[in-house]
Amino acid sequence: MLRDSSRLTKGMAVIAAIFAGLAACASTPIPNDKIAVAKVAVQRAEQAGAPELAPVELATARDKLARAEKAAVDRQAEPANMFAEQANVDAELAEATAREQRSHKAAMEFDASMQALRSESLRATQPTQ
């Protein structure tokens, strides 16, 4: 009898666990793919010079990514999804900002060199004697 009841309890627990699992699956899955995408985006931003050129944007992205990963570990799908999406767009903005700064700097330098070249060329075309 005692043995029977113990078996019954075990069986119920298994069923409950299955249900719980199904319930979790049914609501929102853990967004591992989104987190992976965000992670790659952060790495791209780091390679694009964001640590120097867009440190605030990059810090925000890293923070959101960390939160998304923690939420995933805690099996909290909703916050994991939210933070992963934010981390991705933050990282993209960090990368774009870094590229913007670099392009701007290059354009300024180009303008300066062109100005020098033009004035030099103007001097050269005028007779020197």
Binding site: Q86, A96, S103, A106, A107, F110, L117, R118, S121
Partner: protein, 302 residues
């Protein structure tokens, strides 16, 4: 009872009214949504975004629309996330557009830069060529000048040597007035102005010299000894000088190059007290001028 009923209705009505007002009233202001609207508007106003980041702007607009929709349906929990994404995507659009605009400007300028640099290089090459040519010409000119100078030196040396040889042949002596060749008395018959045939060789030499040096003038001065009157002597000396001039003219020398003068017994070169001295004094001096054609000064002093 009546009051109770009334109260009940009143309470219920108020509850209904509240619920209705909540439905109809404008949604509560949401900071994230407001932020997103401003970000999207700013991106829309940026001309670079339309040109270079239209897709990013579209994403931002879709996010904003989702946020607005959630707000309209009081699904407050679903507003913040799309609002945040909208704002970030709008900024992303601007950053990407700005970078692309700068890159495009540099790429376009590169062509102009290449042209300027090409022009500068072409000019440099031309300048170098011109400098090389100028240097070459200078070298050539210097070499030509050296050659010419050497030639002139040679020519001058030859000229001097030949002149010397000719002068030697004429037995002329250099004096301050020029080269002086003396035709002695023996070339004239006594008391006559006629040149005897023995003078011909000397006159041929003189004429040849004058033909070879057409720039030189010649002055012919006649002299006598102290025997006889002055007028006779001056006349004789002049006639002898004229005779030499005529002989030279016959040999092709232009008369305008020849001056004559009779000095009579003046300017003796020897003692008139003995016959030998008197013979030396009876003479005709031919003065050959400089090769610049300058006139020969008349005889003066002793």
């Amino acid at each position: 009872m009546n009051t109770n009923l009334f109260n009940g209705i009143g309470l219920t009505g108020m509850g209904l009214a509240l619920a209705l007002s909540a439905c109809v009233s404008t949604p509560q202001p949401n900071a994230a949504l407001e932020n997103a609207r401003i970000a999207v508007q700013t991106a829309e106003a940026d001309p670079n975004v339309a040109k270079y980041a239209a897709l990013d702007l579209e994403t931002a607009k879709n996010d904003l629309a989702a946020a607005e929709d959630a707000q309209m349906h009081h699904h407050d929990a679903a507003v913040d996330q799309p609002a945040y994404l909208a704002a970030q995507n709008a900024r992303l659009a601007q950053a990407r557009a700005s970078a692309k605009a700068d890159d495009a400007r540099v790429a376009a300028g590169q062509t102009e830069r290449d042209q300027i640099m090409l022009a500068a290089r072409t000019r440099e090459v031309q300048n170098a060529k011109m400098a090389a040519n100028a240097a070459k010409m200078e070298t050539n000119a210097a070499m030509a000048a050296t050659t010419e100078a050497l030639g002139q030196r040679d020519q001058a040396a030859e000229e001097a040597a030949r002149l010397q040889a000719e002068v030697d042949a004429l037995k002329a002596k250099p004096t301050p007035r020029g080269l002086v060749m003396t035709l002695g008395d023996v070339l004239f018959d006594t008391g006559k102005a006629m040149l005897n045939p023995g003078a011909a060789r000397k006159l041929d030499q003189l004429a040849q010299f004058l033909n070879e040096h057409p720039d030189r003038r010649v002055q012919i001065d006649g002299f006598t000894d102290s025997v006889g009157t002055d007028s006779y002597n001056e006349d004789l000396s002049r006639r002898r000088a004229d005779a030499v001039k005529a002989a030279l003219t016959m040999r092709g020398i232009d008369a305008s190059r020849i001056g004559t003068q009779g000095y009579g017994k003046a300017y003796p070169v020897a003692d008139n007290n003995d016959s030998g001295g008197r013979q030396l004094n009876r003479r005709v001096e031919v003065v050959i001028g400089e090769d610049n054609g300058s006139a020969i000064s008349p005889r003066s002093g002793s």
